[in-house]
């Protein structure tokens, strides 16, 4: 094959390539997957805001939770506390509807939480005003964190980190309430003696 033949071949190759299909219909409809994944342009700022709040809440939770526990530990002579894991098992139950409250805690946990919260409210009365305020402040911090994480989850329902954080925060709340219960019980026993 000489140079002319090569040039002809090249020309024909390019002509043939230019005639190839540039449009091909996918075998399946890709739109539902796209639509589901579309981050709405109006939303990103809100998402970032919520994420920021969630992060701030996590920091508050960490600082607040640990300072609360530390405060209780240094103001009372405690026997070793039972592990938090000994409490009711936390179960996430998907609920139909919008995500805001898509993740609820299981009924067992809700019952335990309600009765413990009532008991804590009652037993907080046994603490001094200063101690009571400090404990209440820490419980409030944890609950505010739960609320913020839930808000962030509403914007990012599939964020596994937030889900994990929420679960852990609920667990911390329960742990703190159980510790308060133990402390007040111990204080009462010592007072009785």
């Amino acid at each position: 094959m000489n140079e002319t033949d090569n040039n002809n071949f090249d020309d024909e190759l390019m002509a043939a390539a230019a005639e190839l299909a540039t449009e091909v219909t996918p075998d399946r409809d890709l739109w539902p997957g796209i639509e589901q994944a579309l981050p709405h342009p109006g939303r990103p700022a809100r998402t970032v805001w919520n994420s920021t709040w969630a992060q701030a809440a996590a920091v508050l939770l960490l600082v607040g939770g640990s300072s609360g526990v530390t405060y209780l530990a240094i103001t009372e002579d405690l026997s070793p506390l039972p592990p938090v894991a000994g409490g009711p098992t936390l179960v996430f139950e998907p609920v139909s509807g919008s995500f805001g409250s898509m993740y609820n805690l299981g009924p067992d946990y809700q019952d335990a939480r309600r009765s413990l919260a009532a008991k804590v409210d009652e037993e907080l009365g046994r603490l001094t005003a200063e101690e009571r305020n400090e404990v209440q402040k820490n419980i409030d911090v944890i609950r505010a964190a739960i609320e913020e994480i839930n808000k962030a989850l509403a914007a990012e329902p599939d964020n596994a980190l937030l889900q994990k954080l929420l679960l852990s925060t609920y667990r911390d709340e329960l742990g703190l309430m159980m510790r308060v219960d133990k402390i007040t019980s111990a204080a009462m026993r010592r007072g009785d003696i």
């Binding site: 024909e12 043939a16 005639e19 449009e23 739109w31 994944a37 981050p39």
Partner: protein
């Protein structure tokens, strides 16, 4: 061989949807609405361009599953970047750039290119012209078997008609590299097609 290629050129049974003034106006309306987060309008843009974007992804990746993923990613990216579209180029060109970037980004992340579950030639419609010698399919398959660098340049330049400047810009390479890759692609295609023809 010349006859084979001439036949393939004539045998392209696909016709691009003609872009009329009316459809362009309609497209501008959808773009404006989609820029205000109207996903229904974006759905219309999707339907208007999906075949072309998917075709590009399919030719660049050579893998049906990957092309589907790339197409979805490209539209999701386009939605996120839609407010950056100022109408300085045709929307289809802008979308193509997004799609090319998506393909390249995904290819950098994975080596799925080598894992070709289904060859492009298995899913592209067969030539319809009676008496066609199968040259078009041979060419499809030969393109599919090109090394990725040469294939990307050949697809964008020879199939989609982008200039070397546009092609190199899309692929993030020098214009000279684009020319060299095209030369390489033509040489490899010639070798392959001549071998098959012989």
């Amino acid at each position: 061989m010349a006859a084979l290629l001439t036949a393939t050129a004539a045998a392209a049974g696909y016709e691009a949807v003609p872009v009329t003034a009316e459809s362009t106006t309609e497209e501008h309306g959808w773009i404006r609405k989609a820029q205000t987060a109207d996903s229904a309008a974006f759905g219309s843009l999707y339907r208007m361009h999906v075949d072309r974007v998917y075709g590009l992804c399919l030719r660049m990746t050579g893998n049906v599953a990957e092309a589907e993923d790339c197409t979805q990613d490209a539209f999701i990216q386009a939605w996120s970047k839609l407010n950056n579209f100022r109408g300085e180029s045709a929307f289809s060109t802008w979308l193509h750039r997004v799609a090319v970037n998506t393909v390249l980004g995904r290819m950098r992340k994975s080596r799925r290119e080598q894992d070709r579950i289904r060859a492009v030639s298995d899913v592209l419609p067969a030539p319809e012209t009676i008496g066609d010698s199968g040259g078009l399919r041979d060419l499809e398959q030969a393109i599919d078997e090109l090394p990725s660098g040469a294939r990307h340049v050949f697809v964008l330049h020879a199939v989609y008609g982008y200039s070397h400047d546009e092609t190199s810009d899309m692929l993030g390479i020098a214009a000279g590299t684009s020319k060299a890759q095209l030369h390489r692609a033509r040489r490899l295609l010639a070798q392959q097609l001549k071998t098959e023809c012989a």
